[in-house]
C-alpha cells in the first residue's frame, strides 16, 4: 500500500492544565475524504492546526505527505490547502485579486497564475464574477471563493475546518459536489463538520470527544458496531413531557428530539413496536413507534452524548 498522506502517532496538545488533544493516532490514505466530527471544544481545530504546522504538539508525532509536522513545516505548506469557517478573504480585493494574492503567498509560478485562476473559478462557479469584490459576496459564495483560494496552488491535501457552517442546504449540497469531484481527481480531503448529514459524503469518519478519538471507521461500520440496538421514531405529543417519559422507559438507552417527533435507541431485544407503545401508554401518552434507520447522530450521541455537557463546560473554544 502507498504511504499514508497523513500519519499521526500519539499526538498530544496541552494548554496549561487543559489537554486539548489526547494521544491521537490515525492514518489518512490518498484520495480519501475523512470526516472529523465532535462537539465544540473536542479538539478538532487544535488537531488541524497541529497538522498545518501552526501549533507545536506537546508530545507525539505526525507526518503530512511524508514530512514531519514539527520539523519540516516549510516543506508541507506548499502541498496543502486550508479553509476554515472564517475564511481570510480580503473584502476590498476582487475575487481574482484574492486568488492572485494567495497564489503569490504559495509561490505559484507567475506564468501559471492566469490558467489556475481560470481553472479554480470555473470549478467553484465564479467564472463570470472575477471582478466582484469579496466583501460583496453572500455567505455561500464566500465559501466557494475560500475553497478556490485554498486550491489555487494545486494542493494534494485539503484541510477544511467546518467549511459549511451557517450555509443553507442548497449551497451545502453544491459545495459537497465540489469536494466529491476533488476527491475523485485524487485530492485527499480532511474535513471537520457539525452537520451529521454531511457524514454521508465522507468515506470514513472520526469521532472526537474530550480531545480523544473515540472511533474512526466507515458510517456503515460505526452504525453496526457502536449502537446497542435498534433505533425508533416515536410520534407523540406533547414532545417534552413525552421525551422525559421515553427516557425513563426500561430498555431505552437514549432518547432525543428529531424534527417534529422523538427518536430513541433501545437495547437489542428490549422492545418491539407494541411494547414501546404500551410502555408510553402506561405513562399516559398515546404514541406510535416505528423502526427507523439509525443515523450518525445516534452513533455520535452514544459515543459522545453523556459526557458532552461537562466537556463543553470545561472547554475554551
Amino acid at each position: 500500500m502507498a504511504e499514508p498522506v497523513v500519519q499521526v502517532e500519539g499526538l498530544t496538545k496541552k494548554f496549561g492544565d487543559f489537554t486539548a488533544v489526547d494521544h491521537l493516532s490515525f492514518e489518512v490514505q490518498r484520495g480519501e475524504v475523512l470526516g472529523y466530527l465532535g462537539p465544540n471544544g473536542s479538539g478538532k481545530t487544535t488537531t488541524i492546526r497541529m497538522l498545518l504546522g501552526l501549533l507545536r504538539p506537546t508530545s507525539g508525532r505526525a507526518t503530512v505527505l511524508g514530512y514531519d509536522i514539527a520539523r519540516e513545516t516549510e516543506a508541507i505548506r506548499p502541498l496543502i490547502g486550508y479553509m476554515c469557517q472564517k475564511a481570510a478573504l480580503y473584502d476590498e480585493l476582487t475575487v481574482a485579486e484574492n486568488l492572485a494574492f494567495y497564489a503569490g503567498l504559495y509561490h505559484l509560478p507567475r506564468g501559471e497564475l492566469k490558467s489556475r485562476q481560470r481553472a479554480v473559478l470555473e470549478l467553484v462557479g465564479l467564472s463570470n464574477r472575477p471582478n466582484e469584490r469579496a466583501g460583496e459576496l453572500s455567505t455561500g459564495w464566500r465559501q466557494r471563493l475560500a475553497l478556490a483560494v485554498a486550491l489555487v496552488h494545486r494542493p494534494e491535501l485539503l484541510f477544511l475546518d467546518e467549511p459549511t457552517s451557517g450555509v443553507d442546504p442548497a449551497a451545502r449540497r453544491v459545495f459537497w459536489g465540489l469536494i466529491d469531484g476533488l476527491a475523485q481527481s485524487g485530492v485527499t480531503v480532511f474535513v471537520s463538520t457539525h452537520y451529521m448529514d454531511e457524514a454521508e459524503y465522507c468515506g470514513r469518519l472520526g469521532i472526537m470527544n474530550g480531545g480523544r478519538l473515540l472511533a474512526l471507521d466507515t458510517l456503515a461500520a460505526l452504525k453496526r458496531d457502536a449502537l446497542p440496538g435498534p433505533a425508533w421514531d416515536v410520534i407523540v405529543e406533547p414532545l417534552i413531557p413525552a421525551l422525559a417519559a421515553l427516557e425513563q422507559t426500561p430498555g431505552v438507552v437514549q432518547a432525543g428530539l428529531r424534527g417534529d417527533h422523538l427518536h430513541a435507541l433501545t437495547l437489542a431485544g428490549a422492545h418491539d413496536a407494541v411494547s414501546l407503545r404500551a410502555a408510553l401508554a402506561d405513562r399516559g401518552f398515546t404514541a406510535a413507534g416505528e423502526l427507523a434507520d439509525p443515523t450518525l447522530e445516534d452513533v455520535f450521541m452514544v459515543l459522545a452524548g453523556n459526557k458532552v455537557e461537562s466537556l463543553s463546560a470545561g472547554a475554551q473554544t
Partner: protein, 319 residues
C-alpha cells in the same frame, strides 16, 4: 386572540437592493414561526426591522400591540432578541453579564438576583456564575445569550440562527429550552439553516429576494413532493446521475453521499412506470443498481425544490 407580533408589508432598501420587499408575518402566543431561505434572502434584515434595530422604509410592526416605530420602548420591553453575533462582555462573569442586561432592560433591583439565578438554572449554567464569559464554549455562550434575551420576561422571542456552529448535543439542549418556553405561551420567531430545526416550527416562511414566497406548516411545504422523491443506489454513480438527468420525468438529481436523490416533475409519480423506465435505461448504460425506491420527502428536499423554482422564475423574469 391578541397577536404577539403583527408585521405588515415590511420594506427596506439598501441602495438599489430591496433587502426586504413586502414581508408580512403574525405570531400568536405559544407559536413558533421559522424563517428559512438561502443566504442573502433577507431573513436577518427582516428580524432587525421587527425589533426596531433598523428603521422601516415601509410597513408596520406591532409587538404585543405596541408600534415599534412610535412606541419603541414599550415594544422593546415586550421582546427578547438574540442576534446572530451576540455580544457578551468577555471580561465580565456569567452572572455579571446577566445582571448588566437585566439593569439595562429595567428589571427592578430587588427582583434581579432571583430572576438571574432562575434563568441560569433554566439554561443549565448554574455553577458557572463566576466564570468569565470569554472562557465559555460556543454552546454555553448561546445559552447565556438566551438567558440575557429572557431577563425581562418578554412574551415574544426573536432568534437569528441561534445554533449556528453549535454541535448536535448542544442544539438538542437549546431546543428543549425553546419548546418549554413555547409551552408557557411565549411566541418565537427563529431563522435557521438547519432543516431539522425548521421542522419543529408551527409555520415556516420560505424567503427569497426579500419576499416570503411560500409559507405554511412544514408538512404543507413537503406535501407537493409526496411520491416524487426516489432514492437510487447505483455504481458507477456519475453515469447513473447522467442517465437519470436525461429522463423526461426527472427534474433534479442530487448526490447525497453514496446515494442519489431524484425528484420527479410535478404530476409524475412513481406509479407511472418511471422506475421501470429508469431501471432499463440504467441497465443499458451498464450501471449496476442496488436500490431504487420512493422515499418520504424531507424538508431539505422541499427547500431545494422551492429554491430552484424561485431561481427559475427569476431567470424567466430577466428574459
Amino acid at each position: 386572540m391578541t397577536m404577539l407580533l403583527e408585521a405588515t408589508d415590511l420594506r427596506k432598501q439598501f441602495g438599489a437592493v430591496r433587502a426586504v420587499d413586502g414581508v408580512s408575518l403574525n405570531v400568536a402566543p405559544g407559536e413558533a414561526v421559522g424563517l428559512v431561505g438561502p443566504d442573502g434572502a433577507g431573513k436577518t434584515t427582516t428580524m432587525r426591522l421587527m425589533v426596531g434595530a433598523l428603521s422601516l422604509d415601509g410597513g408596520r410592526v406591532a409587538v404585543a400591540g405596541h408600534d415599534v416605530t412610535r412606541e419603541t420602548e414599550a415594544a422593546r420591553a415586550s421582546l427578547g432578541y438574540l442576534p446572530q453575533r451576540f455580544s457578551l462582555y468577555g471580561d465580565l462573569t456569567v452572572y455579571e453579564n446577566l445582571a448588566f442586561f437585566g439593569s439595562v432592560r429595567g428589571v427592578p433591583r430587588g427582583e434581579l438576583d432571583a430572576r438571574a439565578r432562575a434563568l441560569l438554572g433554566f439554561v443549565g449554567l448554574t455553577g458557572f456564575e463566576a466564570r468569565r464569559a470569554e472562557a465559555l464554549s460556543g454552546g454555553m455562550k448561546q445559552k447565556l445569550g438566551l438567558a440575557a434575551a429572557l431577563i425581562h420576561r418578554p412574551p415574544l422571542l426573536l432568534l437569528d440562527e441561534p445554533t449556528g456552529g453549535v454541535d448536535p448535543v448542544t442544539r438538542q439542549d437549546f431546543w428543549q429550552l425553546i419548546i418549554r418556553l413555547l409551552g408557557e405561551g411565549t411566541g418565537v420567531v427563529v431563522s435557521t439553516p438547519y432543516m431539522d430545526e425548521a421542522i419543529r416550527c408551527n409555520r415556516l416562511g420560505f424567503m427569497y429576494g426579500g419576499r416570503v414566497l411560500t409559507s405554511g406548516a412544514p408538512r404543507e411545504l413537503m406535501a407537493p413532493l409526496a411520491g416524487r422523491i426516489l432514492e437510487l443506489t447505483a455504481a458507477p454513480r456519475n453515469t447513473a446521475s447522467a442517465v437519470c438527468q436525461a429522463d423526461p420525468d426527472v427534474e433534479d438529481v442530487g448526490a447525497f453521499g453514496e446515494r442519489l436523490h431524484l425528484r420527479l416533475r410535478p404530476g409524475a409519480t412513481v406509479g407511472d412506470g418511471v422506475t421501470a423506465r429508469l431501471r432499463a435505461a440504467l441497465d443499458t448504460a451498464g450501471v449496476t443498481v442496488t436500490g431504487l425506491r420512493p422515499i418520504t420527502p424531507s424538508l431539505e428536499d422541499a427547500f431545494i425544490a422551492l429554491l430552484q423554482g424561485a431561481q427559475m422564475e427569476q431567470e424567466a423574469a430577466r428574459g
